[in-house]
């Protein structure tokens, strides 16, 4: 790189544009400082400070987006690109992080493990993911992704006294490292191809998304570029849990601490789709390869996720595998976005619906008072509705929304994806999606059945019934979190005006 590039970068270092990410970083560091300076009795306040701080930042981003005062355009020498989609992903990751912080608070309170580090790493991951969603350059993308992934390695094995958590951590480390390597290799190939001065459209800064798209448009038959694209997609497929890179999901989801599972399910998946949405612009010239590849992934992902989830009885595995199938539905949206321009809005809507539904489901799971949350099974839900109607309702709304039952948000998400797919004439994918939905009813229904329908079945053996149902654990904050998740899911199912006007406007 020549000196001009550095000069250009220096001129465009508009630090104020990344205020939210910056603020999260400061918050993350100040948590560590607070642990040192606060007396031990006040340590319980630190998670609350983390949540409060994130709420303030979320408020800043939301008001900024609504008022349209947040900047848009390139910054940092083309490293980052700010637009409306990026702002929505910021909101998404912050929202996910706030609710994972809450889960972490509940979950860690029961254990004698260091607490503050969990929130610290969570915040760093969130900041990294927010940057990732706005990356406009493969170097930025990779650095942000690795920052997040390294954080995930730690959070997955955070319960270091339980073997399953360590096992999950190891599996995630190996698979994650492998996928990062594949991604990196793809990036290197793209770099090599794009900066070959012998080819038209080459540039010195060939990892910039815009430059790369220009290069690929000029050389759509370039073999290196094609292989690079396939490898990059493979790396991302790992993140979203698309077939055949979904193999880590059940074990890791099961072994990881519950808040981390939630973070993996929601944020990590969304990050993958943020990347895919940017890639669909980068690789648009390779559309004849890019979209068939994604279609194959989508079909296999939907079928695998749903059929594999059918036989599971472990709750975290069911959620993980159902998440695989959701990735498949979202992939359909990405493919449809090629011809239907509002399909990316559908993806975002789907993701927000998924976030709210997951928030409801995981909030219920975290309150199933079990010491080891890795072996929560359907049986642990037995009589949930009877013992705690509020949690039962939350579970019903969450699972119903995941299953795509009207009038919940998940249904509108699926509907938008279906309409987009139909408009894009993806009939085969649509057929597979329908099969997926019908199959998924079986296991979602199974969850609800164990929570509700066995209501009066086991009354005889009351004394030996599992004691996994909470008594007092649900504090004010817990109720608030669950109410927000339920209300959001219902609202987005009935009345989408605020969201759609925000998206379109």
């Amino acid at each position: 790189m020549s000196a001009e590039i550095f000069q250009k970068i220096a001129e465009t270092n508009t630090w104020s544009w990344i205020t939210p990410e910056f603020a999260i970083g400061v918050l993350a560091l100040s948590l560590l400082v607070l642990e040192v300076i606060l007396p031990k009795v006040a340590h319980g306040a630190i998670p609350r400070i983390a949540i409060l701080g994130q709420l303030v930042i979320l408020g800043y981003v939301v008001t900024g987006t609504c008022a349209g005062t947040l900047p848009a355009g390139e910054a940092f020498g083309g490293m980052l690109y700010f637009d409306g989609t990026g702002q929505l992903f910021r909101v998404f990751f912050l929202g996910a992080s706030i609710f994972v912080s809450y889960l972490g608070m509940v979950s860690l309170d029961r254990r004698t493990l260091p607490q503050v580090e969990y929130f610290h790493i969570l915040l760093v991951i969130t900041a990294a993911l927010m940057l990732l969603a706005q990356a406009n350059h493969f170097v930025m993308l990779f650095v942000a992704l690795e920052t997040a992934t390294v954080g995930f390695y730690i959070l997955v094995s955070y319960f270091r006294h339980t073997t399953v958590s360590l096992e999950a951590g190891l599996k995630y480390l190996i698979m994650g490292a492998l996928s990062s390597t594949i991604l990196l290799f793809g990036i290197v190939l793209l770099y090599g191809a794009g900066s070959n001065p012998a080819l038209a459209g080459s540039s010195q800064d060939s990892l910039n998304f815009g430059n790369l798209a220009g290069f690929l448009a000029a050389n759509p038959d370039d073999t290196l570029g094609l292989i690079g694209m396939i490898l990059v997609i493979s790396g991302v497929a790992f993140k979203v849990g698309a077939f055949p890179f979904q193999i880590w999901i059940p074990d890791v989801y099961q072994g990881a601490p519950l808040p981390t599972t939630a973070l993996l399910a929601v944020s990590s998946k969304a990050a993958g789709f943020a990347m895919l949405l940017s890639f669909s612009k980068v690789f648009s010239a390779l559309g004849d390869w890019f979209y068939p590849l994604l279609s194959a992934l989508a079909i296999l992902t939907i079928l695998f996720g749903n059929f594999a989830a059918l036989t599971q009885r472990n709750l975290k595995r069911v959620i993980g595998l159902s998440g695989v199938s959701h990735a498949g539905f979202l992939l359909i949206g990405v493919i449809a976005a090629r011809t239907v321009d509002w399909a990316s809005i559908a993806i975002l809507f789907y993701l927000f619906a998924y976030l709210l539904a997951s928030a409801a489901v995981f909030s219920v799971l975290v309150h199933l008072n079990k010491d080891d949350d890795s072996d929560l099974t359907l049986d642990d839900l037995g009589d949930l509705a009877k013992k705690n109607g509020f949690l039962g309702l939350a579970l019903a709304v969450g699972v119903g929304s995941l299953a795509g039952i009207p009038p919940l948000a998940g249904f509108i998400g699926k509907l938008l994806i279906f309409i987009a797919a139909f408009k894009a004439e993806l009939y085969g994918l649509l057929g597979v999606a329908i099969v997926g939905v019908v199959v998924s009813i079986y296991y979602y229904f199974g969850i609800l059945k164990s929570a509700f329908f066995d209501l009066w079945q086991f009354q005889a053996d009351e004394e030996e019934a599992p004691t996994a149902i909470p008594g007092s654990a649900l504090g004010f904050l817990g109720k608030l979190a669950i109410v927000i998740a339920i209300a959001g899911t219902l609202l987005l199912g009935f009345y989408q005006s605020p969201f759609s006007s925000w998206l379109v406007g």
Partner: protein, 506 residues
Amino acid sequence: MNDFASLVQFSIAVPIVAAFLTLFVKSWGRPAVQIVSVTGFALPLILALSLWGLYDPSTPGGYAFVSNLDTGLEMIGVSLHLGLNGVSLPLFVMASVVGLAAGLFAAQSKAENLSRYLFCLLIMQGGLMGVFASIDIFFFYFFHELALIPTFIMVGIWGGRDRNYAAMKMTIYLTLGAMLSLVGLIAIYVKSGAESFDLITLKAHLAEIPLADSVQNYAFGLLLFGFGILVSLWPLHTWAPLGYGAAPSSAAMLHAGVLKKFGLYGLVQVAIPLLPDGMGHWENWIVWLALGNILVVGLIAMAQRDLKQMIGYSSVMHMGYAFLGIAAMSVLGVGGVVLMMVAHGLTVALLFMLSTMVHHRTQTFEMNEMGGLAKKAPVLAAFFVCAMMASIGLPGPGLANFWGEISIFLAVYDFRNWLVYAVVAGIVISAIYGLRAIASVFYGEEADEFIESQKEVSVEDMSWAERVPALILIVVMFFIGFFPKTVTESINDALESEPVYAQVEE
């Protein structure tokens, strides 16, 4: 927004609001829950009847009481567009009548967690009112699902024998049906290019630029089988008797009586007017499958020993007549179908309710283990005989079903006259199982099991709490039976303004 449009909105909103109220007043005790929920069922009936009174058949565009609300999906052409026309109004009223009867019956039932049971039932009622009042086909589907989900829950929690299996089977079947019809509706939306889910807009648009034949064919196929599963078209009917057998009676009343009409209504109001050529393509399929409903399912119904299962099968069988009437594609035939939908809704609801009352007295649904109940409960017997006669449709000119069926038969004769033999055979079949059920439940010697069970539970005649909901249904049945014109006029007007049906007539 037309005059009185808010009445339509209220009749959808009231049950839903009442549903949430029942949960809040739970702590005030059982009577509070009962009062709130019965109000939630009664108000829609009052509103629906006043709408009936206010309805002016000469409304321009066919729809009266129209209102339009944006819910935020306008970017894909969806808005909450409500209104009633001559076809939907009778069904709308019927839904409110059956709803009140089911609600009254449920409110005094011994279900555990009564407030939650009524919550589900009220949500279902809200969805049912919405289904028939929707002009927007997205919301038409949406309200159907809103009514369907509580059914699964009620079968699963408050159901009888095999409830888990039945609930699961129903859910999977009906989800498949709903998904197929959803894709069919999306197909119409996308392929028409009208960028709207609004039925009126779609109709106007497709009248100018009809869809290509191939599109019509597959879209109609999706809707036919999607709706067909929901209406229990043979051989996709197996969820229905099982589900109704397991469902608590109020849920069965609302589902078999009202919700199942969604599919037929969808064919009459949406699929055929929008896709007339698709209908021509699938006509033979409909005829043969409908014959399967009438003859095959009819014979199965004859073989049933379980009273509730038998009623379930007979309701599946009657759907065959409806499909035949639709296949005839004339004002007479389709009008007969709509009239039959109204009448059948009332009858089958009454039969499910009465069979549960029989069960309270005999402690069984096995018809072999009953007998002689008429002596102990003459009023119940009278109601049951009336309902069963109406259901058979044969000897009751004073009952509503007769008029519907006779119009269907005449239309079917015009359509393909050999079909009438099959239809008559069907009537013989239903007369056999219907009369045999009456005989074995109410007349003859008491079975040993029944004598045995009487030692524990003394058998009394219908109480007033039981009589009121039954009376509501039977009075409306007789009213339509004696004055069918009150209903048929509006149906005729609406259908004659529909070119597909009027054309064939000429």
